[in-house]
Structures are given as structure tokens and as C-alpha cells.
């Protein structure tokens, strides 16, 4: 009979008994990031925009980080802008992309499964007099390309936005096809690539791309805004000469250096790490299906991110499930309404028409071990059965 774990200090290290399975939100700091961050704390405090020696050194470090990231993304350094987070990068991409095309139209086309940052930017746009067209997805969470084609070829479409792969269920989106349809319609495409950066080749065809360092082992506080040369974009912010006028405020240079170092490192290991995590996810999908009755495992089982698996357990309260798992030393996320600050079910799960209650999203990372996954799979059926027994199911 296992003792219930007491809540431990948050800096308790990860081991078999304390597993972190929410890499889709944030990842532990990559060793390369930690090393760069610590070194930069002493070297990178000066303002890169000034003219004195310390400033010029800071400027060199910033430019080196920009060049490193540009190389991974496959763009020119002057196309890379550092924002204060993935969320603000997405806001800037969408609102700036719409503003840049104001003379052509005021309609944003986006999928139904975008990250909330894109949804909120769209809501702001509509509130300010613009329009939005939402393109549905299928049961596996893949955007409907026929509906996408119709939407982007409508009148007055200023910008389209499609996530590279679902942050909630992992399904890879048909970005090249969607981009080709956008190109044919003369509509620039924004791709939220936060879940894909550092995990493999990026899809082609986008004009604006955004990302977040804390998803790839970098620190929080670093967002990526990539604008291909020639993309019409007008900053949604008050004027600031930082980052060529694209992102206001002093950049967090130590964090940016850490972000660049870790992106370089994870990019180099992406294929191998992707295979390792993907095999673990396959194992989770198969085992949960076999050992937990009345469970819906969602998202494409094959055309998916390597590290994400999401499933919903019938008759189980999502918050109770997260709490029970946390007590056993498993940190996961959930798309269930009761676990959300808005008390709404995940818009992604709702758009797919899949079960939203009793939902768990597991997202694995470089420190995830097979032993941790095995322990989760061994304990999950009993936890679910216990919660169901409490409600007489």
C-alpha cells in the first residue's frame, strides 16, 4: 500500500517519484541555457543600444544570439525579433500583420485550435472593428483544408494564422498546403511554431512565425517574432527604437543568450530526442487504451508532435484527477473546464468534438525517463478507478 506523497518543495528535483510531464507549458532549463544564463548575468547587463564599451559588448552578444536563432529557423538575422514572451510575440505577429494589411482588408482567418494568445489577439481585432473567420478542424484536430481554402480566398482577408501543431493534442497541421492556399490568395500566413521549434524541420510557406524559448529548454521571458523580409507589418505598440521598432522595452539579454544556446543544443539533438520521446508517447497511447476503460485518446496517433499525448477519462472530474496525480508525484496539464481559470472546456477539445472532462495532457521532455512513464502507466488505472468509484461509476 503506497503512502500518499506529501506536497514537497517546488525545487524538489525530478526523479522516478517526482515526474514533470508538462513540457508543453514550460520545460526545465536546458544545461546549455543555464550555463549561458549564469555567464551572461555578469556580462550581459549593459544596454545593447548605447555606444560605450560595455554596451558594444552587450550588442555583440545580442547579435550572436540573434544569428544563432536565425540559423536554426533558416532566416536572416534581421528577420528575427526578440519579444518578452511567446504570448506577446503572437499578439504582435497577429495584430501587426493585420495592421500592415489594413488597406487590403480587415479579416483574420484562423483555425479553431490556435493558442489562446492568437485567439485573444483576434478578439481584440474584432473589438476594434475587424472581422474573424474561424476554420474548423476534424475529429483528430487537423484543420479542414477545403474550409481553409474558402476562407482565405474570401474578400478582404488581411492575414491567416495556423498553428504548426496543436499544443493541446499534438496533431501536426498541414501548414505547407495551407500556406500554398494562402499564397494563391495573396494572404500572408502567420504560424505559431512554439510547439515545433527545436523539434525538427519547420514547415515552409509562412511570412510570420512566432515561438517561445521556455518550450525548448530556454528560460521564460523570451519570445520569438520572425518577419520575413517584405512582409507588411505595422507595430501594434507605441514607438520604441528597440529591436528595429518591433518589440518595445529593453531585451532580457541573459535570457536571450540562454534561449539561443538551448535552441542550438536541442536543434542538434532533435531527431534522436524526437524518436525517444515519440516511442514513449506510443507506449502511453497503447497502454492507456489497454488499461483504462472508457477513455478517449485524442489527436492523430502518427502525424503528431513527438512529445505530446492527451486523453480524456469518462466520468472523472479533471481537477480531482490532476490533484490525485500530483499527490502521486505526477505533474500534468488538463483541458477540462474545472481545471481552467475560465471554467470553460478547452476550445481545442471542443472544436474536435472529443470528450473534455477527465482530460490529461502529458508532454514529455529531455529529462523524462522510461521509468517515470512506466510508473505513471502503472498507477493511472487505479487512480481513475478510485475517482470513478467515488461517484458510483
Amino acid at each position: 500500500m503506497r503512502d500518499l506523497r506529501q506536497a514537497g518543495p517546488i525545487d524538489q528535483g525530478e526523479d522516478v517519484h517526482n515526474a514533470y510531464f508538462d513540457a508543453a507549458t514550460a520545460t526545465p532549463l536546458h544545461p546549455a541555457a543555464r550555463e549561458a544564463l549564469l555567464a551572461a548575468l555578469d556580462d550581459g547587463w549593459a544596454d545593447p543600444g548605447k555606444l560605450y564599451t560595455q554596451a558594444r559588448r552587450a550588442r555583440l552578444l545580442l547579435d550572436a544570439a540573434r544569428a544563432t536563432i536565425a540559423q536554426v529557423v533558416g532566416v536572416r538575422p534581421d528577420e528575427v525579433t526578440f519579444a518578452s514572451s511567446g504570448t506577446t510575440a503572437a499578439h504582435a505577429a497577429v495584430l501587426g500583420g493585420l495592421a500592415g494589411r489594413r488597406r487590403i482588408g480587415a479579416t483574420l482567418v484562423r483555425s479553431a485550435i490556435e493558442h489562446s494568445a492568437v485567439l485573444h489577439a483576434g478578439q481584440r481585432h474584432v473589438r476594434d472593428g475587424g472581422a474573424e473567420v474561424e476554420v474548423p478542424v476534424d475529429r483528430l484536430g487537423r484543420v479542414d483544408l477545403d474550409a481553409w481554402a474558402r476562407a482565405v480566398s474570401g474578400p478582404g482577408v488581411a492575414l491567416a494564422s495556423l498553428i504548426s501543431a496543436s499544443h493541446e493534442v499534438g496533431t501536426v497541421q498541414p501548414v505547407p498546403d495551407a500556406a500554398a492556399l494562402c499564397h494563391a490568395a495573396g494572404v500572408p500566413l502567420h504560424v505559431d511554431a512554439a510547439m515545433s521549434l527545436g523539434r525538427g524541420p519547420l514547415p515552409a510557406g509562412w511570412s510570420l512565425l512566432t515561438g517561445s524559448a521556455r518550450k525548448w529548454g530556454g528560460p521564460p521571458g523570451v519570445g520569438l517574432l520572425v518577419l520575413r523580409k517584405g512582409t507588411r507589418w505595422v507595430s501594434p505598440y507605441p514607438a520604441d527604437d528597440r529591436e528595429s521598432g518591433r518589440a518595445p522595452g529593453a531585451p532580457d539579454l541573459p535570457a536571450i543568450l540562454a534561449a539561443a544556446a538551448s535552441l542550438h543544443a536541442v536543434h542538434a539533438a532533435a531527431e534522436q530526442e524526437g524518436k525517444r520521446l515519440s516511442a514513449l508517447v506510443d507506449h502511453v497511447r497503447a497502454t492507456v487504451a489497454a488499461t483504462v476503460p472508457d477513455v478517449e485518446i485524442v489527436g492523430d496517433p502518427v502525424d503528431r508532435l513527438p512529445h505530446v499525448v492527451t486523453f480524456s477519462c469518462l466520468y472523472v472530474d479533471g481537477e480531482a484527477l490532476l490533484t490525485a496525480l500530483d499527490r502521486r508525484g505526477f505533474a500534468v496539464s488538463s483541458g477540462s473546464a474545472c481545471t481552467s481559470s475560465t471554467l470553460q472546456p478547452s476550445h481545442v477539445l471542443a472544436a474536435m468534438g472529443v470528450l473534455t472532462h477527465g482530460n490529461i495532457r502529458m508532454s514529455l521532455h529531455r529529462d523524462t525517463t522510461g521509468a517515470q512513464v512506466d510508473r505513471f502507466l502503472a498507477e493511472l488505472p487505479g487512480i481513475v478507478a478510485g475517482l470513478r468509484a467515488e461517484v458510483g461509476m
Partner: protein, 79 residues
């Protein structure tokens, strides 16, 4: 347009997920095959989860409506 009013109405107003689905799951086996149960549920997940439950349990989701301003979901027992 009048639809056949369901014989059974499960009032789950004010109850949050997954209670409305649980109530439906426990009640449906007690009605005759072919009968329709109406679930009143204002929990935001009900509109997605009741149809999902029908799909998972091979029952028929008849549709949603509004009853005195409250969301209502009709389910027909198939098996």
C-alpha cells in the same frame, strides 16, 4: 415546429461536469430502447461532452435546444 417532448427530463442545472454526463449515463439504461432523455445542463462542457458520450457509448445524440432559457440536450437510447 414541435418535437416530441422527451418522457424523461434530467435536471442537472447548476451541476458542473462531469456530473451531467454521469447522471445521463446512469439514467439512460433505465429507459426503454428508443426513448429520449432530455438533460438540462448549464455546465459549459455539457454541449461538447454529451454528444461525445453518445459517440463513445453508441447512443444517439438528438440535438440541443433551449428550455426556459436553459440549455437542453436530447439523447435517444439505441442499445
Amino acid at each position: 415546429m414541435t418535437e416530441q417532448t422527451p418522457a424523461d427530463v434530467l435536471d442537472c442545472l447548476g451541476r458542473r461536469c462531469p456530473l451531467p454526463v454521469i447522471a445521463l449515463a446512469r439514467h439512460l439504461p433505465t429507459v426503454p430502447v428508443g426513448a429520449v432523455v432530455r438533460v438540462l445542463a448549464d455546465d459549459p462542457a455539457a454541449a461538447v461532452d454529451i454528444p461525445a458520450w453518445c459517440r463513445m457509448r453508441a447512443q444517439q445524440y438528438v440535438g440541443a435546444s433551449s428550455v426556459d432559457g436553459s440549455p437542453a440536450f436530447d439523447v435517444r437510447r439505441l442499445s
